[in-house]
Amino acid sequence: MEQFAQIQVSHLFFLAFASLAVVAAFNVILQRNPIYSAIGLIVVMCSLAGLFLTLSAEFIAAIQIIVYAGAIMVLFVFVIMLLNIREEDAKADRQKYLKFLAVPLFLALIGVVMAALKTIGNPAASPNVPGTVENVAEGMFTNYLLPFEATSVLILMAIVGSMFLARRESAEDTNEIETALNAANQPTAVEESSEEEVHA
């Protein structure tokens, strides 16, 4: 019974969340219906949030739920529903061999990484618990302010880009593109093509 005395609650928590995450991950890749895959991914994210909590990273855990599970996966689900994807057709898979290749590669990668992990050993956890909001904010707004601002620019670009890429092409857009192409083919000065118009 001494082994069991060694088992702590933290281990149990870890095993619970970990197994949930792995099972859900398999679900993601093996399901036919994309909605089921999306749900599987949400479960993975939530279990990862739990794992973050066991690592005392409460801010990150919260962010994980809010951003990943709450925004990104919602976006995925919206897109799936928008495109009205059914179960995938049972068309002949042109790359059938990949299905058979995946398992050995899977095992190979696991094996290699596990072998590499042996070199790490088991360091002791540091006594400080760095995951609090104040610690994160302190690091972010002093040392790493520039990346933070950069991410805001990144988000801006993502907004603009996704809006432009996903819009429906209207008739005037088609005309504009055609005139722009003709102008570009002329040897004369390139006239400015009309910028994209932001749809409301």
């Binding site: 870890f14 973050f52 925004a71 995925f76 495109l83 956890a125 400080n128 618990v129």
Partner: protein, 100 residues
């Protein structure tokens, strides 16, 4: 305390599952989700190290990774939508114009 190597092992497994998914799946959106899975596993690794080394930098990194993942998901899905409009299919194998 849960040993560090367990977290890393879990992260490796999740990452590998994501890779296998990329190879297996033909649906573009599910492919994307597998990529998100890979990113998440990396997040786990970073947080684990952050905890064990006592440095908050790891978690900041995770923050940035999440922002980038969000942006990438948005743009990527927009592309998939645009692709879907012209091709009426989400099968990535159909997008093979670059073959010789």
């Amino acid at each position: 305390m849960v040993p560090l190597s367990w977290y890393l092992a879990l992260s490796a497994v999740l990452f590998t599952i994501g890779v296998a998914g990329v190879l297996i799946q033909r649906n573009a959106i599910v492919l994307f989700m597998c990529i998100e899975l890979m990113l998440n596993s990396v997040n786990l690794t970073l947080v684990a190290f952050s905890r064990f080394l006592g440095d908050v930098t790891g978690q900041l990194f995770v923050f940035i990774v999440m922002v980038v993942a969000a942006a990438e998901a948005a743009v990527g899905l927009a592309i998939i939508i645009a692709l879907f409009r012209t091709r009426e299919t989400l099968n990535v194998d159909e997008a093979d114009l670059l073959k010789l």
